[in-house]
């Protein structure tokens, strides 16, 4: 029951905002609904018992003839992603307060609608439901980006849309295939876990799912839609895409790929690891060359996500735990980065690194908060990025010292280009453009302070967060190993 409220509250909010809100009240209405959603999520967090069980389960028949149930539940892994969604949504909405959007009620309704879809993805225990949520999250973000985006938005988003939907259709094919193999004739995840498929079948299913997830994250070479889409999208859209939506892919791998077809995963791990590490290096090199800060962050995001993917595919406790916490950290940090860039852009009409400079002199508060967010991104010890990246790198290193070394060096390299762009934007002398820059105020302060607080709190004391998913991850690994030994 609690989960139904969690999932459908944003949807109700979306409908209410779309129908009743005026232009000027839409953002407030959306904020209120998203804060209520956050409260519901926090309520679940307090009630949650951190063991491996699935809690707050709700299960009823949806489409009886097709064996589809509305089955949702929460375990430690889902809870982290649910928290991520519901913490970031109000932050993203608040971050958009300074901007005026045409047809604001439609804009905010779509954000809330998307939140519902995301929550459905993160809680679904029925493969069909998972797929519905997957698509339900895509449609609103398409409209957000294509309606309120920048130059070339139509072309860019068409590419984005066709890319992602191509992936998801193949996933649907995989889901139907699993359903047909399932003697219980349903889409229950528990039944899918029990399936004993042979290695060839597992290989095919692996690719059917993996391509969908890889496009979403995105992993090299499925990333080509991402930089353009991030750059042209309106800032809340970019935040939703990078902060929350790409975690759908990561979550999908953990929940639906590893335990269902572990043998397929084992057979293809080498390829995926290679792709992930190539992605880390490749994106880092391209990021180094970027003149536009928003594109730079977009490429660095590919690099960071590549590391998460590599960590997951080591199928180890460190890798999975690292990816859990890094999902959260990356979400928070990337939203912070895009927000800072949005503040600069809204005042100076540019994100070109070379045209900026000396902002620290005129906007000290922005400088400090930006620095904290940046340090979180480059994973300085004591910030939220550190613990996740440390675990991930360790897992990759354990898998293969060479890959670990390459990935690790690239991450250091990442710190270089991040800090270099910070130096160019914030330090030095002000120029004609930046001299009259106004420091952050009002809602901007609230958003950035919140983000900085989260970065430091998680960085200093990550233990409760790690404990949240620990038992579930452990359980997942046992399941995978059990299934692997079962076949051999």
């Amino acid at each position: 029951m609690e989960l139904l409220i969690l999932i459908f509250l944003p949807l109700v909010g979306a409908i209410a905002t779309a129908l009743f809100a005026k232009q000027n009240t839409a953002k407030v209405a959306a904020l209120i609904f998203s804060i209520f959603s956050l409260a519901v999520a926090l309520g679940l967090l307090f009630k949650f018992i951190p063991d491996a069980s699935t809690q707050f389960e709700t299960n009823f028949t949806w489409i009886q003839q097709l064996g589809i149930n509305f089955h949702v539940g929460l375990d430690g892994i889902s809870l982290v992603t649910v928290l991520l969604t519901n913490v970031l949504t109000p932050i993203i909405i608040l971050a958009s307060f300074k901007n005026e959007y045409k047809n604001a009620n439609a804009f905010y309704a779509l954000i809330l609608f998307m939140q519902s879809g995301l929550l459905l993805v993160f809680t679904a225990l029925d493969a069909f439901l998972f797929y519905i949520g997957w698509e339900a999250a895509l449609i609103p973000i398409y409209f957000i980006c294509a309606t309120w985006g920048g130059k070339d938005r139509i072309k860019v988003n068409m590419k984005f849309f066709v890319y992602t939907i191509a992936g998801s259709l193949f996933m649907l094919l995989g889901i139907i295939y699993l359903y047909l193999q399932n003697p219980a004739n349903n889409f229950e995840i528990a039944e899918f876990y029990k399936l004993q498929l042979d290695a060839t079948q597992q290989g095919w299913i692996f690719w059917a799912f993996f391509i969908a997830f890889a496009i979403k994250m995105p992993i090299f070479p499925f990333h080509t839609w991402q930089p353009d889409t991030y750059t042209t999208a309106p800032t809340p859209g970019t935040m939703l895409l990078s902060g929350i939506m790409l975690k759908m892919g990561i979550y999908g791998v953990i929940r639906w790929l590893l335990p269902v077809v572990p043998h397929g995963v084992q057979d293809w791990t080498g390829v995926v690891m290679a792709l992930a590490v190539i992605g880390i290096v490749y994106a880092a090199i391209i990021a180094f060359k970027q003149k536009d800060a928003k594109r730079l962050v977009a490429y660095s995001s590919i690099s960071h996500v590549g590391l998460i993917a590599a960590g997951i595919f080591t199928i180890s406790q460190q890798g999975l735990q690292g990816s859990m916490i890094q999902m959260l950290s990356h979400g928070i940090n990337v939203v912070g980065l895009f927000f800072v860039l949005d503040i600069i852009k809204s005042r100076l009409e540019t994100n070109k690194v070379d045209e900026l400079g000396g902002l620290a002199k005129v906007a000290p508060q922005l400088a400090i908060t930006f620095l904290i967010v940046l340090l979180g991104t480059v994973a300085l010890p004591g910030t939220n990025g550190f613990i996740g990246e440390f675990l991930l790198l360790m897992s990759v290193y354990n898998y293969s010292a060479w890959l670990g070394a390459v990935a690790g060096l690239t991450i250091i390299f990442g710190a270089v280009y991040m800090l270099r762009s910070y130096q160019k934007i914030m330090l030095g002398e002000t120029n004609a453009l930046t001299a009259s820059f106004k420091d952050i105020a009002g809602t901007e302060k609230i958003v950035l302070y919140t983000i900085c607080a989260l970065i430091i709190i998680i960085g200093v004391y990550p233990k409760p967060l790690l404990q949240l998913s620990e038992a579930s991850v452990q359980h997942l690994l046992e399941q995978i190993n059990h299934k692997l030994t079962g076949i051999n």
Binding site: E135, A136, A146, I154, F170, I176
Partner: protein
């Protein structure tokens, strides 16, 4: 039987009402007649009856007949002011549509192949005339002539096929044909094979499956939009019901023989319909080609015959019918203002008329097969159907086609929301609003809770 009589009588009454120049009474009488027919359809549910071993009114017939009647009802609601612009003789057109519906009801409930032929002919002859309503318009004349020539050809094929099958079995009755096939599986009369193929060709003409689709784009474009809507939805659904009754029933024992031929037709239909639709600038032509591709998806149900085949076709046809009617309603509405049926004429529709824009968007999403719309459920059951027999190659082709589909359906959405158009207010008559709202709600309800219609038959 009541249904056919009601519709036929309504048609005659409408004709005489027209004679006495009571134009205002035409629409109410027609709608009343259709509602009564719909009432008979509902009341006959679960009471299969055979009339004179000619017609078999079972749930299959009632379900498809019901969809056809509802579709026709919605299309009649769109006639407001429409025919008046086209011609002074409104009553005749009302009558012709109703007679065509009569033929359709016979097509979905035949038990005897002669009834199939009669049904197809009643329907087709009415449509030949309807396509040419605009006497002074070249495109309309061309459409009518083309449709007539092609239609006559295809009916010829159908008739040849029927004759050959009759030669093999000595009967027109589909159940007798099936029994004789089952009993002589080791020694099937060679007349059957050309007979089946000829009938398949004839029916593929009627439903517009490639490579027998050449008439579709020109006829769809040239005919008045309302008649196109009727042809693309109601007529197509009826064609599939007739197809299914024959091939899933009488010819089912020879599935191994005709399936490969149909498989080729399906693949050509899917690819050709979708890829050509991609290049269309004209909305009506785009819908024509997309209707060809939808015919491909609908034929999936015949590639793998299961207990659910008929039900799957019903779901898909219902989804397709409602979405197409919305598309045509918006098109007619926009065209009355702009005089063009290019996709560009939808530019900026969101500002001019948010309701029509939203309805058109939902219809396009449904045609593309996005989850939570009826179109997705339709595609889903079709995919499920063929995957049960592991036709993976076919499904992969279908998925690639679905992707192309997304592209051109979204072009319409892009025009509606993201392109700047002329800032002219577009008012929508009340009846159009009713059609748009009702159809959109049906699309969403069937998408969210498809149990209402799944396994209905």
């Amino acid at each position: 039987m009541n249904i056919i009589i009601t519709i036929a009588v309504t048609a005659l009454v409408v004709l005489y009402t027209g004679l006495f120049k009571a134009k205002k009474a035409l629409l109410p009488i027609t709608l009343l007649g259709l509602l009564v027919a719909l009432g008979f359809t509902v009341s006959a549910w679960d009471q299969p009856t055979v009339y004179f071993s000619m017609m078999q009114v079972d749930n299959f017939a009632l379900a498809f007949g019901g969809i056809a009647i509802i579709g026709t009802l919605l299309i009649f609601l769109l006639t407001q002011r429409y025919f008046a612009d086209n011609s002074p003789n409104i009553a005749e057109y009302f009558t012709l549509i109703l007679f065509a519906l009569c033929g359709i009801i016979i097509m979905v409930s035949y038990k005897n192949l002669s009834m199939l032929f009669i049904g197809v002919e009643i329907m087709s002859v009415c449509l030949y005339i309807l396509a040419g309503i605009r006497k002074l318009n070249f495109a309309s004349n061309e459409a009518s002539l083309k449709y007539f020539l092609m239609g006559a050809f295809s009916t010829g094929f159908l008739l040849f096929g029927i004759a050959l099958v009759y030669g093999a079995t000595g009967s027109f009755d589909i159940d007798v044909i099936q029994t004789s096939l089952v009993n002589n599986m080791t020694n099937v009369s060679p007349l059957f094979y050309p007979g089946i193929i000829l009938m398949m060709v004839g029916l593929c003409f009627k439903v517009g499956a490639a490579p027998f689709h050449f008439w579709t784009p020109d006829v769809y474009e040239g005919s008045p939009s309302l008649i196109t809507a009727f042809m693309a939805t109601v007529v197509k659904t009826a064609g599939f019901a007739a197809f299914l009754r024959l091939f899933a029933g009488a010819f089912e024992p020879l599935h191994d023989f005709w399936m490969p031929a149909l498989l080729v037709i399906v693949i050509i239909t899917l690819c050709l319909g979708n890829i050509t639709a991609l290049y269309q600038k004209n909305f009506k032509r785009m819908l024509a080609y997309s209707s060809i591709s939808h015919a491909g998806y609908l034929l999936f149900s015949l590639i793998v015959l299961t207990a659910n085949s008929a039900s799957n076709v019903l779901v898909y046809a219902a989804a397709y019918t409602f979405a197409s009617i919305v598309a045509f309603a918006v098109l007619i509405n926009v065209k009355q203002k702009t005089g063009s049926d290019d996709i560009e004429s939808f530019n900026g529709l969101a500002k001019r008329n948010p309701l029509a824009a939203l309805a058109l968007t939902i219809a396009m999403l449904s045609l593309a097969g996005i989850p939570l719309t009826a179109g997705f459920i339709g595609k889903y059951v079709m995919f499920l159907n063929v995957l049960e027999n592991y036709q993976i190659i076919l499904v992969v082709i279908a998925i690639l086609n679905a992707l192309i589909g997304f592209y051109y359906y979204f072009r319409v959405i892009i025009a509606v929301y993201f392109k700047e158009g002329k800032e002219v207010e577009l008012e929508t008559p009340v009846q159009y609003k009713v059609v748009l709202v009702v159809s959109t709600i049906v699309i969403l309800i069937l998408g969210v809770y498809p149990s209402l219609i799944l396994n209905l038959i």
